[in-house]
């Protein structure tokens, strides 16, 4: 188990540990978070739980800026956490930062 001391930012992994199109599940202080790398190298993080039936978004298909929940195919923006119509809702979003190829989560 890794631990870091930074109060505000937690280093979660190296940028190369993230694979485009394959989200990564990270558990920080017991909270499950899905981390996405887009094809433009941008990193986004959302709570790993679909507002519909709590499906793990880290297991969804990622297309561009959207992830599709593996349970019932809800479409959710990884940039904003907003659920696409006709479904409704919003997923908690976490700020991320990439410094020196290290990915940080802002808590």
């Amino acid at each position: 188990m890794q631990s870091t001391k930074d109060e505000k930012q937690v280093m979660i992994c190296h940028i190369d540990d993230l694979v485009e199109g394959v989200p990564k599940e990270v558990i920080v202080n017991g909270e499950s978070i899905a981390v996405f790398k887009t094809n433009k190298g941008k990193v986004n993080a959302l709570k790993n739980s679909c507002p519909h039936k709590e499906g793990p978004l880290s297991q969804g298909i990622v297309s561009g800026d959207h992830v599709f929940c593996p349970l019932h195919d809800w479409k959710i923006s990884v940039e904003t956490g907003v659920v696409e119509a006709p479904d409704e809702g919003c997923v908690k979003k976490f700020q991320t930062e990439v410094k020196n190829e290290a990915v940080y989560l802002v808590l």
């Binding site: 188990m1 890794q2 631990s3 870091t4 001391k5 109060e7 937690v10 979660i12 992994c13 540990d17 694979v19 485009e20 199109g21 394959v22 990564k24 599940e25 990270v26 558990i27 920080v28 202080n29 094809n39 039936k53 709590e54 499906g55 793990p56 297991q59 969804g60 298909i61 990622v62 297309s63 561009g64 959207h66 599709f68 593996p70 349970l71 195919d73 479409k75 006709p86 409704e88 808590l107």
Partner: protein
């Protein structure tokens, strides 16, 4: 800046529609609070009759659920009417003691049913027909009592009566006049209506006036002025409504029959407005939905400080919502001295049409039995079109014998309204169909609001859908693959073959995808078609696969996975069972279950444990998660069974080993039984084999799932080798010809069994080619994925690792 406070009194259709219109114009300007007397969110009062008639449930008619209020930041108090308005301090008081300040106050208090002040009207079993509670009372009463009497032969009364008939009650309708619905129908139409309803089982007492309601605590009957008596266990009063203006007059607003408003829905007091049934504009209080919605729009414009021409009254028209009766009435339908009428009256067909004309303009109409011309007539009336040069066929297109019978929507102009309740024009719907790729009436309702209230326009919307997309498009379901493209599955797979495309991205690029990276519908499909076209060269794109296929296990509702090891033909041995038992113990697998395909399912496994479980099991993947060959289920067969004619187990294992791990458009389930008793259920499999004396029968297209379908006998062959060849050719043709995610049952229905036979059985050349293609595909299959992953650490890290971090404070 602080938001302006807007308070709405009345949580009904008119008030909430006004709020919707306001939110459309200026979503963040107001802090909105709504008070309603009924304990429900806004529902479709017009549809109450369909609840009573059993066509909808109460949930179905909710227009705005609680989530909608929450999402729009609207504070809602249900079951809590406003009891006092303090104009000077701009405050309202609710029954439950809530005090709320306002900058703008809207009265949308609607109407109350008019209860005749008859002696005995307070007895148990005497109700109105106005809200959900009345419906529930009628439904409940029908369980214990038989005889219902409806006082009032108008629109509302007849809808209630029809509902009571559906609830299996003997239904008597008492009407004070000679004709039913005399405010909407002339004598001939009214007579036809009465005859039709009598046929449905309603009994009428015309020209009768009720004197008193008899009974002890509960109603027992009605006594009429002429001295006659009618037994009844339930009395529904449906003689009319009266605007609910008690609060308004207590507040000191100017009222006549209803709250008097000007063209901007302003009442006599500053910052107080009224809409809907409780408002009276130019001497008229409307009780129909379309005018209420028109008023809502004007008020929304006005309150949001948008320019508006104001409200100038509405055209009144009615459709009766009673099953089996088609009726439309609008405007001035009675003959007067200065009017002339076009009449069509066919007593054999039960059709009556009357169009009333004054000064060369249509001013009113009654249609009975065939109301297809109603949108056109309404439009002519609204526009005040001059008809002096029109012939009958133009005014009543349904009477044109030479017409092709095409729907009236075809000849409608783009600005003609289809949904009068919600004011949706033809043009808006066509635009939504084209721009948003809509293909069902439900989608159109969701996008445009058309058909959301009374539902009367749904047939027209459906016609318009066909007219816009073409009949064939709608009936053949030439649906685009997904929202990213207009191309169908067939077109995409054809293009991949023809242009020899090799990558997902390339396909989207070359075929002009609208979204750069596709979606969860098109990507798995493209990945499949690419692999089908070049089985040896194409490298599978695992990011385009659904999670189950990406991690080779089945995701469950709680995010855990299930593991189903391969057991060929459903045959296992002590060694396998021991390994499964030991592994289940070691990883504390919550449940072991025998599946429908004769396998063992280990349920509730954590994703990060998958690779090590597979390693410990030392068994191959059963592919229970994939669009591929699943299982071959077998019966005991000739080895042990008294009736077995063939070695079903041996054949099943041989088939499963030959085709395992093969990608298919959708899952393929198979079975081999050794006699027609069919213990392996071969009749409901994608391919089901039945052994008979000296031969095998092959059934195809069976399905035991959502669309239950018995398999069709495809052929009968004598040898195992011939059977395997035929299965190869059939499966390969399915792989090449079916659309991704199309089960064999749907594919067989779509292309026809004879066609498949002509390719797979009759055409030697094609059959040979199919078998060859299958062999190529089988050679290019991946190795067992479980073994591969449990030996590949990089893959484990990419797909199965879950990173645990703890922040030290």
């Amino acid at each position: 800046m602080e938001k302006e406070r807007l308070v709405l009194i009345g949580n009904g259709m008119a008030g909430i529609r006004t709020i919707e219109e306001i939110l459309k114009r200026d979503p963040n300007r107001f802090q909105i609070t709504v008070f309603g007397k009924e304990p429900h969110p806004n529902y479709n009062r017009i549809a109450l009759s369909s609840v009573l008639q059993g066509d909808s449930s109460v949930d179905d008619i909710i227009l705005n659920d609680y989530e909608w209020y929450e999402k729009n930041g609207i504070e809602l108090y249900t079951g809590d009417p406003v009891v006092k308005v303090d104009k000077r301090r701009k405050k309202i008081h609710s029954k439950n003691g809530i005090v709320c300040e306002y900058d703008h106050l809207i009265f949308a208090t609607g109407s109350n049913p008019f209860m005749l002040p008859l002696p005995g009207a307070d007895k148990e079993g005497v109700i109105a027909f106005r809200d959900i509670k009345d419906c529930e009372t009628m439904i409940e009463t029908s369980k214990h009592y038989k005889k219902a009497a409806v006082i009032g032969g108008g629109l509302l009364g007849l809808e209630a009566a029809r509902g009571l008939l559906n609830l299996n009650m003997e239904t008597e309708v008492i009407h004070i006049f000679d004709y039913l619905m005399e405010r909407q129908l002339d004598a001939p139409a009214s007579d036809m209506l009465r005859r039709d309803l009598e046929e449905q089982g309603m009994r009428f007492h015309m020209n009768k006036q009720t004197e008193m309601i008899k009974g002890h605590d509960r109603v027992e009957g009605l006594k009429f002025k002429d001295g006659s008596f009618l037994e009844a266990d339930l009395v529904v009063m449906a003689v009319g409504i009266k605007p609910n203006i008690e609060l308004a007059s207590d507040t000191g607003l100017k009222t006549e029959r209803a709250i008097v408003v000007n063209d901007f829905m302003e009442t006599s007091a500053k910052d107080i407005y009224a809409v809907g049934e409780c408002a009276e504009h130019n001497g008229i209080a409307y009780g129909l939905v379309a005018p209420l919605y028109e008023q809502g729009k004007v008020l929304a414009d006005h309150i949001c400080s948008k320019e508006t021409e104001g409200y100038h009254g509405s055209l009144m028209y009615t459709k009766l919502k009673v099953s089996g009766v088609d009726l439309f009435s609008a405007g001035q339908f009675q003959d007067e001295e200065d009017t002339r009428a076009i009449r069509v009256h066919d007593e054999f067909e039960g059709i009556y049409k009357k169009v009333v004309v004054k000064d060369n303009k249509v001013v009113g109409s009654v249609l009975y039995g065939d109301t297809s011309d109603s949108p056109r007539l309404l439009d002519m009336m609204k526009k005040g079109q001059d008809i002096s040069n029109m012939n009958k066929a133009v005014i009543l297109p349904s009477e044109d014998e030479n017409s092709s019978g095409e729907s009236p929507v075809v000849s409608m102009a783009d600005d003609e309204q289809i949904c009068d309740c919600n004011g949706v024009c033809k043009g808006e719907i066509v635009e939504a169909i084209n721009n948003d790729g809509l293909s069902t009436v439900a989608d159109i309702t969701k996008h445009t609001n058309a058909g959301r209230s009374c539902g009367g326009c749904k047939p027209l919307v459906s016609d318009l859908l066909s007219a816009t997309l073409g009949d064939e498009a709608v009936s053949n379901q030439k649906e685009p693959m997904c929202g990213c493209t207009d191309l169908s599955h067939d077109e995409v797979s054809e293009a991949i073959k023809e242009k020899q495309l090799s990558f997902t991205r390339e396909v989207m690029n070359v075929l002009g995808w609208e979204s750069e990276e596709g979606c969860s519908k098109c990507r798995p499909a493209i990945n499949y078609y690419l692999g089908l076209n070049k089985p040896e060269e194409y490298e599978d794109d695992h990011t385009s696969r659904f999670i189950n296929e990406r991690v080779h296990a089945n995701i469950q509702n709680d995010g855990t996975y299930s593991v189903v090891p391969r057991m060929y033909g459903g045959v296992t041995d002590p060694d396998q069972l021991r390994k499964i038992a030991d592994t289940a113990d070691k990883y504390e697998v919550p449940m072991l279950k025998v599946t429908g395909g004769q396998r063992i399912d280990m349920l509730g496994v954590n994703k990060e444990d998958l690779p090590s479980i597979w390693k410990d099991l030392g068994m191959n993947s059963g592919y229970a998660y994939a669009k591929s060959i699943r299982t071959v289920k077998t019966c005991v067969g000739e080895d042990f069974c008294r009736f077995g004619t063939q070695d079903s187990i041996g054949m099943g294992i041989q088939i499963e080993k030959k085709f395992e791990r093969l990608n298919t458009p959708h899952k393929v389930k198979m079975a081999v039984s050794a006699c027609p008793r069919n213990c392996a259920e071969s009749g409901i499999k994608d391919i089901g084999i039945v052994g008979v004396e000296g031969a095998w029968e092959m059934y195809v297209g069976g399905n035991g799932g959502v669309d239950l379908r018995g398999g069709d006998l495809f052929c009968k062959v004598e040898t195992g080798e011939e059977l395997l060849d035929t299965m190869s050719a059939f499966l390969q043709y399915y792989r090449e010809d079916a659309r991704y995610l199309e089960r064999t049952s749907h594919w067989v229905e779509r292309v026809g069994l004879d066609h498949i036979r002509s390719v797979v059985l009759d055409d030697d050349e094609k059959r040979k080619q199919l078998i060859e293609n299958m062999e190529r595909a089988l050679r290019a299959r991946p190795k067992d994925p479980w073994t591969e992953v449990s030996e590949n650490e990089a893959k484990q890290k990419e797909l199965y690792e879950k990173k645990q971090l703890e922040v030290v404070q």
